[in-house]
Amino acid sequence: MELDIKLDKRLARVKLISRNKNHVVVDVDGFAYRLDVHMVEDHVYSVLHEGKSHNIEIIPGETNKKYFVNTIYKNYDLEIVDAESRYLQNRNKNDLNNEQNVISTPMPGKIVRIPVKVGQKVAANDTVIVISAMKMESEYKAGREAVIKKIMVKEGDTVTGHQPLITLE
């Protein structure tokens, strides 16, 4: 088993060399690790490596291949990169501009105001939507001059994180 794995911006090549129950030997970019790995709680692993005790949390992300990884020092975004995801990535390159045309929010919240209408022309930095969460309002602005193409939500709606809200043209 051999996979490419993206950790934040780093791309690593990972290969399973051997496994005997909880003892594994795995190669990362040419360096072989002998580890003793136990899942101790939901999503939490205890890993021993040359005596050092590591606690690593592997939280499922948006897709089957995405994770949030927490070590004691740092949190990472991690993605498994296989043939399928490479294909999708290539395909998406063409849609990249499209993605920049979608305004979405990283956090769940409630739509407070939408000061624009479909077909309206907006300048760069114009506020197009205001979302409130936890007593704080955040304004989302257009990244460039554009025309409002579609508004998928209305004032008062509750939205989840990463949900597309408005598309620009």
Binding site: M1, L3, L16, V26, D29, V37, D42, V44, Y67, I80
Partner: protein
């Protein structure tokens, strides 16, 4: 004697109040909004009643609805916690009218302290130092200019009804004055429906130091020493400690007396907090009085050895104070960190969501006051505070060591939290030396945001491997790929075991 108490609040403070009730044998009534049906305060209470839709204005701020539940459930008293209706004189009055004990001071005390101009005048009459400035509402340009000449520059224009940093303007030069007054008035009108503003001297590099006071119905008022609350971000407290690193015994005694005078001027009953600004020359000025239990009350509880909620209830029952000023001592040092669901890397944007996993620190000298649990979804409607972490140490250095240990044990996943940011504050040398004022976070922001501890050379690789193993296990390729095939998949024993229907 109060037998049943309704807590008109949610989150950690509702549970903290119910804990003291349970210890006193008082049964508890929770109220909850639509978003809060599965919130811990509903689960912790003996009874729980629905009061309305999720926005506070339609639930936790609905006086009539809450009073109706109090009547229906037979509660003798209402504890408002902090925030929501806790400093609403009208609500206190309504409780009185319905024959329900409001756990807090009189409506008069709330109203007096709620209006800053009135509070300033009351303090001056009581002989408590206030920030130089006017005690009247500014109505004309001429008046504004006259006050400016008296107090000097820089100065602050402040809304009388203000709070939370709203309706405030800092004026550096004379030319900014009139615009600042107009802007503050306009903001105050929008935010509070009252455009009264006044002018105060601007205190540079101030320390925010507050005194806990406690009064009974028999005219006894004591203070329980200070809390240093200068570690703030945008006027929100982040870390509090007691004793203050800058107070001398003499100043402590003097400020304590002023705090008691401030409380006495409004015949204060119950717990309250007198906030002061202290400048670099250790001059102190009355800032405002919070007529309720304060978020950071636990650090006082720890070093003075009292249960402030129990004292509130005893006072409300008409009992005289059990403590005399001369017997109270501060023993050791306590620090509180507020743990917020927010993303420090993303401009501290709030981070509501589902708690995937939580491990709270415990052991010697550690207290957590929280309310979330694994599987709980933090709603978008309320304050982003998840919990308060309070530690005690015999010395300040010992308390900082313990706080670092406790923060390192605190694991919350599913939402972003401020834990790492707090760790960086604990490691900041100015903080460790006790040399800070309210500009601390602003001043050190860059270094507080930086990554402080590094993965050792291998720890990043090990994180990658662990995810790799999780993934190949998930897609079922682990056995096939492995030259040595185990009978059972080893590292997921845990998950499998938990899925067995057989215990």
């Amino acid at each position: 004697m109060i037998k049943k108490l309704l807590v008109a609040n949610r989150g950690e403070i509702a549970i903290r109040i119910m804990r003291s009730c349970r210890e006193m044998g008082i049964s508890t009534v929770a109220v909850y909004s639509e978003a809060d049906r599965t919130s811990m305060h509903v689960r912790y209470a003996d009874e729980a009643y629905y009061i309305g839709p999720s926005p506070s204005s339609e639930s936790y701020l609905k006086m009539d609805k809450i009073l109706e539940v109090a009547k229906k459930s037979g509660a003798d008293a209402i504890h408002p916690g902090y925030g929501f209706l806790s400093e609403n004189a009208e609500f206190a009055k309504q409780c009185g009218k319905k024959g329900i004990i409001f756990i807090g001071p009189s409506p008069h005390a709330i109203a007096t302290m709620g209006d800053k101009i009135t509070a300033r005048q009351t303090m001056i009459n009581a002989g408590v130092p206030v920030v130089p400035g006017t005690n009247r509402k500014i109505t004309t340009d001429a008046e504004a200019k006259k006050v400016m000449e008296e107090v000097g520059l820089p100065l602050m224009v402040k809304a009388s009804a203000g709070g939370g940093g709203k309706g405030m303007r800092l004026v550096h030069s004379a030319s900014e004055l009139l615009n600042a007054v107009k802007a503050a008035q306009s903001e105050a009108r929008t935010a509070f429906g009252d455009d009264s503003v006044y002018i105060e001297k601007y205190i540079e590099s101030p320390h925010h130091i507050e005194f806990q006071v406690l009064g009974d119905k028999h005219g006894n008022i004591i203070h329980l020493f200070e809390r240093e609350c200068s570690i703030q971000r945008r006027h929100q407290k982040v870390i509090e400690e007691t004793p203050s690193p800058i107070l001398t015994p003499e100043l402590r005694e003097k400020m304590g007396r002023s705090a008691v005078e401030a409380a006495r001027s409004v015949k204060y009953e119950g717990t309250g907090t007198v906030e002061f600004l202290v400048d670099n020359n250790l001059n102190y000025y009355f800032l405002e009085m919070n007529t309720r239990l304060q978020v950071e009350h636990p650090i006082t509880e720890r070093v003075v050895g009292v249960d402030l909620v129990k004292e509130q209830i005893r006072v409300a029952n008409g009992e005289p104070l059990a403590y005399k000023q001369e017997y109270l001592r501060q023993l050791g040092h306590a620090i509180e960190c507020r743990i917020y669901a927010e993303d420090p890397d993303n401009n501290f944007m709030p981070s509501p969501g589902l708690i995937r996993h939580i491990t709270e620190p415990t052991g010697l000298g550690v207290r957590t006051d929280g309310y979330v649990y694994k599987g709980y979804e933090i709603p978008i409607y309320y304050d982003p505070m998840i919990s308060k972490l309070i530690v005690w140490g015999r010395t300040r250095a010992g308390a900082i060591d313990r706080m670092k240990r406790a923060l390192s044990e605190y694991k919350i996943s599913g939402v972003k939290t401020s834990i790492r940011f707090l760790q960086n504050i604990m490691n900041n040398s100015d903080f460790v030396d006790g040399k800070y004022d309210t500009h601390f976070i602003e001043k050190h922001m860059e270094s507080l945001m930086a990554e402080k501890q590094k993965c050792d050379p291998h720890c990043e690789d090990i994180a990658i491997i662990t995810a790799f193993l999780d993934y190949i296990e998930k897609i079922g390729k682990s056995e096939k790929a492995s030259p040595v095939t185990p009978e059972t998949s080893g590292w997921k024993q845990y998950g499998r075991r938990n899925n067995l229907s057989r215990l």
